[in-house]
Amino acid sequence: MNTALLLIQTLNGLQLGILLFLIAAGLTLVFGVMDFINLAHGVQYMIGAYFAVTFYTLTGNFFLTTILALGAALVFGLVLEFLIFRHLYDKDHLQQVLATFGLILFLNEAVKVVWGAAPLSYDAPEILSGSIVLMPGFLYSHYRIAIIVVGLLVALLLWYLVARTRYGMLVRAGASNAPMVSALGVNIRQLFMIVFGFGAMLAGFAGIMAGPIFSVEPGMGDNLLILAFVVIVIGGIGSIKGAFIAALLIGLVDTLGRSFARDIFRFFLDPSAANEVGPAVASMLIYVLMAVVLFFRPAGLFPAEGRG
């Protein structure tokens, strides 16, 4: 029975890791290329889910909803870039933190006004509504498996774009040394906009996929944003590969830690003490992991070339 539980929690961990990767990928590129700290990236995730709620009520079709919400998330990201972010690129980090923090306050509240404060949700597509039997009595839904598969495909696509295309090359060059890329005659503003829009869309995509599993509510992106920060710090700013590995690592460590810390501590402590200590330690695990990584490698595991 414990193996089945372990299997399920491992899959859950992978699934969290995939969602984190989708958010962290955009964040790490925006960071790496533009040296821009965007706290409002978690809001993109939330907005994606809310757009999906609206389009789902309109169309009733999950796949159509996904396409429409993706487009809307892209447009929304570009509008924000045009209105606010573009004026922040040459400011210092403190101003970026403040402005994007203000934006979070505004959008979390605006979402309440438009969609209401109550949690919303929508259904997973009909085809994926079934479950597979991992072991007798232990089911795992098709939809959650689909998230993992789709996420891996997106990761593959991203790898191709970044490692094999001309724009990917510019992005990598930008992450190493943006002023130099600009000096070589590349329209860096346009590159920024493409990276930004793409990042916003990825975060929105994560939100759309998360909708049927988690509830769609104001502030839903805030905690994931912090986890995404941990991911890109561990992975190394500007590195897609680092973000991918760190996201899966964080997803697994966090999920497995929370499920099994109590049981592990029962080996050395009496049950009531283990019940107290287990969850406390589990919630600290990923931060301790981050502290350890940064202690030995202050620039993360896979820093972008030229930054290490």
Binding site: L88, V97, L105, A110, A280, A299
Partner: protein
Amino acid sequence: MTDIADSQPVKNAGKTEGRVPWIARLDLAAPLVLLILFALVPAYAAAADDGFILSFVTRIMILAIAAISLDLILGYGALVSFGHAAFMGLGAYVMGIAASHGMTELWLVLPLVLGISALFAAVTGAISLRTKGVYFIMITLAFGQMTFFTATSLSGYGGDDGMTLWDTTTMFGVEIFGNDTVFYLVVLAVLVGVYLLCRALVASRFGRVIRGTMENRERMAALGFDVFRFQLVAYIIAGMIAGLSGFLLANHTEFVSPAYMSWQRSGELIIMVVLGGMGTLWGAVIGAIAFLTLEEVLSYVTRHWKMIFGPLIILVALYAQGGIAGFLKGRGRG
């Protein structure tokens, strides 16, 4: 060159044609005006029989203490700590947990609060200060979240919901904070003490080194200063002061909750410092007043006050880096 410590009227007067004395006077006048205003509040509250204003201003002063401590490292050391609320929460929780075990004696609890804050600052600071820039922002943020989630998992001490305190701090067995006016005056005294301490620190050789690291870290290192050690000491001092303000906050609200150390709270502390004007110390006090008053007034106007407050912060970040203190100084110059 924004504060009294390096404005030195005599030396600079010739260069800036009499402008500096105004700023020097402002640096003296602003804290004095604030002190007088704070001192008048209890009298007004008693005359108008207004319990709310007393409690509200007490809260302002407690957050002002934390904001001053953040300004010490942010405004003078350019260390953008995004986890400063963790120290407030830590101070509050140490007080709350001790009280829940019947330990309320000031002379036992206060050293415990300061000691644990210092220890936490030393450990997290030693790791965070190895990094720079964006990494520092994010690692302090992560440590803040770590304490937040640890607090939510303390099911024996209220967990997610927080914990009501049945006993406030005592001195030699007497409940000293029972009277609101007395507590107000204690908080005011702590605020003044913290301000003077930080003012002295900033003006000292230690403060000069810290400010030097803000201007040019490499040059300070080249001059032979162990930058890391200076920054760590500043970080620990700031952490202890914030812990102290958390201790006061717990006594004020008679309640501790993980919300005290949420990352939004850390963000609010940064806003207070920037809104008031970084690197002035008294600007942080003005920032705390402005922030909490705005919050109070706007939430009176509309339930969705954050929709007004958010854009306001964006505007401050984009166009008003000097904050309110910068505005006052700018008027003096013009």
